[in-house]
Symmetry: D2
Subunit: 476 residues, 4 copies
């Protein structure tokens, strides 16, 4: 029913360095704060003096981690957490993370997101050496890669560093060894990963909102390609894979991240407001009210309103009890599906010319339903403004749109889309402007889904064409 | 943890008059839309040709009504639904509604909210005649009262009408007999109840948002004291208890109702915007930004911003995954409790003079935490504005604040409260203005919680002092 | 799938008189020991200084009463427990017992079994006075009856005594008032109820095995018509309804009761052995081995073996993991249904002439399947012996065979039954002998299901024909 | 609480060769029949045209495989099932079987029992080559071993055969590849594995009772060391590891196996009867009654009775509702623990001299409680007879007694044990006779737990002392 691009996963790690932090509860709270990055399964692994205990299951954080489950995890000095978005076929218990495995040097827990483009090749290579796989999770592949390197490497971080030589793709990863907590961001830094501090202790999280949830303060982002090692001596890093400019997924700013997070130095909320302001400049219109499709359109709507001088309004209300199971038996109810989650305030919109701001259009079905809802509530004109460019190309880097089939913008012009969803006018933010939303940041962006130009070599199936392609050979 | 006044319950009923409406799914969707009125337990009773089947349990609507449970309810022509807020001691399965009972004329299901002030007396009277009670629910008392009257009355509606002669209190009630669906609002109309239509079929709901959820259009509110009878002949009413002006609970506008609902002809959202506007007039201040405590403070914040000309902003983000179980082991985490649900956007508030709008202050603990959150995010000044008068007196009419103990405004002056919660200034909406927020409505308001003047006679324990007090003798 | 007569319910009550007995755990253990009397739902109500808390649900005792549920019941001085067998339509949560209600004199919990023959009339009478019913349970009717009498009676026991004047039927009942625990057996004593003691404390239980489970010793049976009152002063009784000889349900000895129970002074196991011995005298046969259909046929088989001199053997094994859900998709599997629960030991039966002893034949389908199982295992001859007379007439006294439809013996002669189930010979115990199995007991038996002669007046629908029939007018 | 030796696991596999067998339901029924071999976790993997889907979890078969779970498994041509007994620390979801993994040649599911004595060495070797482990299950180790060999072997069966060269231990194993179902028994055949047939289809099962449960007929046992390959061409085998005589675990006959199973040509029930007969010869006594401790002592008791001429009786009743959670708060209840499961029939045992037959004594605590139970019931003399020799030495081959600590017979003489448990006399079956109970079988026995002489080289920790010990070098 949901007509959105989905992020795959949030990661979190904590190393308590004498601050008595209750790492299990902290991880639980952090995952709750990162829940928007993955609602299908979740897990926590805790390191109790080298022994790693874990629990994971399908479901939301608050459903999986009931009090007695949290209690059964005991305590420890380190913990890793993960929440996962997965497609229907991958939503099986064995794909839940963190992966907790045992190898020759002891136990290891690993949580990751993103997409390894040469996964099939790597997997085949490993299988040809006798490796077995219990899941289809990239985290399991990473566990294999690191373990192999660990045999010859002097340390877990060196093993990770060596494994990265062979990985081609997009990933943020947290590895917990018996004595260390290690965070890694891929050489292009496509997915975010931030470092927080709480006393002498460090935490790693996909988004800064997770740091806030446990009262840690933000230190900095992990740099593209950086390996951050946290242990009793504090934090240090390996820079061998650093050097490339960050190519952050621009959709983190558009939709994925929580507005209260800060990525690459830029507030997500402020970036969205700026998108709205650019939209107002690019696609001005005479109207009575600007409003967002809640919740993700509200920030940009405010930016549009401020820039255009048209009043900001609240005209759509979202049901705040997010339920996952709805039975829609009759055709009528299926058509009314959007009503379950959204309702218009007729008194606000009746007779008005409305600028309706949303973050993106994927299939367009939900947009059409919202417009109909507003029409039924008596709106006079609907001018839809989208705070990102038309979504025309698949994303191969860890989201669920890996083919152009379901993308309305791949098949229709902006005008045709506008007609299809029934608006009086439709405007998308330009590619030119969207990359300007984070001026303070020194990062570039991956805009592959808008432009078809990807920062990594990729074929139509989302894989690298040559076997065991190296980063060094490919980028720039 | 929650520092809010709680509504007790939402009710819903549907009579399918040949429109093939799928009454069970409609009731399910309606309860989902009314979930904010009660999260402790819920239930649905369906009438299949005179045989009433029901299911109810503790939990949220989407938790209790899993697909197989919904299926087990089968189909029918009528259904009644209920969601309940209850105090810790009353949250037992047997208190869940609708109450489904059998009496001499067949089965009856009853769902109600509010508070019967002479309940103890009525109960004692019934018990002295041999009645037994399975629960402490008012709905069971109502079932007894109506059943007794039914013995001599010619119809169920007449029985209800006679029972109302003996009831002294505040209630909205839906009764489903083998052949009729009946809605009742108490003679003062303190709790809302609206009528919707869908083809030839009628629905009754605590709020109009439930009508929207199933695609029914709003017809009108049930009038104070009115008994609305819906059967195969359509809708008719008994006016015997009508005549008094509505004394709607003003807190429905302040906080209880969903902003997309319309009560007594006034949009809840618009009323809240107006509260904000009045606040701006009453308590102006020089500031850089107006923002609401989400979600309930947003509407009034927008009104304040528009009236004052100070820009509206989004500076606090609420976690949208409402979980019910949090384990807060350490003192630090208890102090950070508010962070789990709310987070400040530092980039928005840093160095700013903020007008922070919230709907009410009950104990003040949450307000203090939010202010601290903002201070930590670097706010310069916090000017708190509350879109209702100081909450000084208990409410005896179906909410959970039945004693003044926990009310900060009962013990402190406005200035003291401001100091306690740490703001630079604090302003409450005046009693004079709050009753003007629904100008289109021809209704009066119960403002007992602000003024201590209640529209019904009540002693300190929330009961009527004289045995079997009649409405006619008491009001005006 | 089960081809057995089912008992409706087991009851238990405990009054701790200073022996520090942990009444909740004792009740839990007792219900576990009585589980065979009812597997559909169960419940425990505990009396903590006049306040009665209860929990009940559908399911087995060990499923319903998980540790945290038991803990939530707290402690007290008294407790009542119940396990219920019910038909598909009556298996709803609201019919689970004990019923805990509140009336003018405080709370009361009631647990009962059996059948009130004039229930409909009593219920109608009550309804005509305004009573409402939440369930179809006889216990709720009893609660109403007792409560009405309580209004004029001087004590709860007097109220029960007066209520018994109006009850016509078969019942064992335990009532817990704020200060007393009261046990009642109907004037004919059709259902068993025993008294146990543990220090100064008393317990009441449907069967003595429940006394054993908690280490109480057996005192005596409650006499037919006796009201036993247990309070801080010990145990006393009201004899007003006593006087008639017990007419115990003979099926308690045949199948219902556990073999380790003692009823009316006779060991159930010994009675069953005697049935087997009588069978051997009535229906001798030349054979190599005697074996029972486990578990219920084993005792009689042993008796037959001892009497006949033919060796006793174990030739059928029962799966001891009683599961309730089996999916039998294919016809083949449905035919093999009996294999899931039973398996033959080919090495024991191959080439042998077997005397196969079972307690009763209801529909005959299971018997036929067992015989086929034995034939497939290579048995030479099967001589079936049933330790009760042909089951020809319905039982109206609290079991689930209330119509002759499903009774094979109602439609066929013994010879025809034998052919139908495929045995070489078939013999039933005579009515003459079955009533001799408890010689030590001074009780008569209800043998209505075998003879069609019932100790109470009853029409074909299992009700009394005259309104409000009195025991005194009817029996003898 | 349970004072028994525990078997580790039952295995089952089915290959439907055109007989339309519903392999999922058949596996479900088979696991239900094998439930006594492992109650901690269970699982089913089904092969749908090369794609293997599985489900497994902690719990009993009927709890884990609810209808919707069974349905979600879909259908296929092959399936493998497993039920597991595990110690507290190993009872984690990831140790449940079958293990379903993917390797270079496709998917594989593996279910096994027993114990690999050189597991640590093998694991270390694998880890030194970079292998990672998700569990502590032997099945995962086997999966690794087979996968490694598969890289060079021409077929899965050849890979298994090669892997067996490196395995030193005791195991029965079922492997399901995309196209084949393969059964393996270790070279000493310590654990049983039987072959059944149903039309053209074959099944493999730990015990023949599982064949009976689905209507398959017994073909033969898998021979020690044999690899049985089942595919569309029927059944064939690899004999390379055959040649040694079977050294069946004698405890399969004593206690583990269901009495209706046939192992190595001998009926378990008949073997137990014979044990009883030998006991009567070795330890005769004057007594009035012979009875077994139900259920496992009944068969031998019958054998004792027949041999001695003393009548067989039923004097102890076992509660048939096996619950897993009991809360025993008070000391008194802990002492009465045995009462929850067992009860004596006083009328049977009072004043009698009893021969009480049980299968084994591990710690002796339960035996002592049963004797006390009988004494309280008035028994005159208790002569305990145990149908196996004193259990003096640990078992390293897949049970839960891997140290002598908890073995009463390791620390006390027979006389001392008798005094400890309070019997008038105590007799154990001799080692000489126990190995004669399966005369028809051509197999030898492992009697290590009685004699301390094990058929495999093993140190005190239950491991082989030399690295990578070969079977060929060690046995005989």
């Amino acid at each position: 029913m949901q007509d959105k691009l989905h992020e795959e996963c949030g990661v979190f790690g904590i190393y308590d360095n004498g601050d008595d932090l209750d790492v299990v509860t902290s991880t639980y709270l952090a995952l709750y704060a990162l829940q928007h990055r993955g609602q299908e399964s979740c897990g926590i692994a805790v390191n109790d003096d080298g022994v790693i205990r874990g629990y994971k299951d399908l479901g939301l954080v608050t459903d999986v981690f009931k009090p007695q489950v949290l209690e059964s995890l005991g305590t420890g000095k380190m913990a890793v957490g993960h929440c996962l978005y997965g497609t229907a076929e991958s939503n099986r218990r064995e794909n839940a993370q963190p992966m907790t495995i045992r190898h020759v040097k002891g136990q290891m827990a690993i949580a990751s997101n993103g997409s390894i483009l040469n996964a099939l090749e790597l997997r085949e290579k490993l299988e040809l050496q006798g490796a077995i796989f219990h899941s289809t999770s990239a985290a399991e592949l990473l566990a294999h890669m690191i373990t192999r390197e660990r045999l010859t490497a002097h340390s877990i971080e060196e093993a990770i560093c060596q494994a990265m030589d062979k990985l081609y793709g997009v990933y943020s990863m947290i590895v917990m060894s018996p004595k260390k907590l290690i965070g890694v961001r891929d050489p292009l830094g496509l997915r975010p990963l931030s470092i927080g501090q709480c006393g002498n202790s460090y935490v790693l999280a996909s988004e800064t909102t997770a740091l806030d949830s446990m009262g840690a303060h933000f230190v900095r982002d992990v740099r593209p390609g950086e390996i951050v090692i946290i242990d009793e001596n504090g934090l240090r890093s390996i820079d061998k894979h650093c050097g490339k400019k960050s190519h952050l997924c621009v959709f983190e700013f558009v939709y994925f991240a929580r507005p209260d997070s800060v990525i690459e130095g830029t507030s997500v909320h402020m970036a969205r407001q700026k998108m709205g302001a650019f939209l107002a400049q690019e696609h001005p219109v005479e109207a009575d009210l600007v409003m967002g499709v809640p919740d993700s359109g509200n920030d940009a709507a405010l930016g549009y309103a401020n820039e255009s001088g048209i009043p900001y309004g609240i005209g759509l209300i979202k049901n705040k009890y997010i339920g996952r199971t709805f039975i829609l038996n009759t055709q009528r109810q299926r058509e009314n599906a959007v009503r379950i989650k959204l309702n218009a305030i007729a008194e606000v919109v009746r007779g008005k010319r409305i600028v309706l701001v949303d973050d993106s259009i994927v299939r367009g079905t939900t947009s059409a339903r919202i417009v109909r809802l507003l029409r039924e509530a008596g709106v006079k004109e609907v001018h839809m403004r989208i705070s990102s460019p038309p979504f025309r190309y698949p994303c191969y880097f860890g989201t669920d749109i890996d083919s152009p089939e379901r993308l309305i913008a791949n098949k229709m012009t902006v005008e045709e889309i506008g007609q299809k969803i029934g608006v009086d006018s439709l405007g998308f933010l330009s590619l030119e402007n969207i990359v300007k939303v984070a001026e303070k940041s020194d990062c570039a962006f991956c805009t592959g889904c808008f432009s078809g130009e990807y920062p990594l070599c990729v074929d139509d199936a989302g894989r690298v064409s040559k076997f065991d392609l190296k980063f060094s050979e490919q980028i720039d």
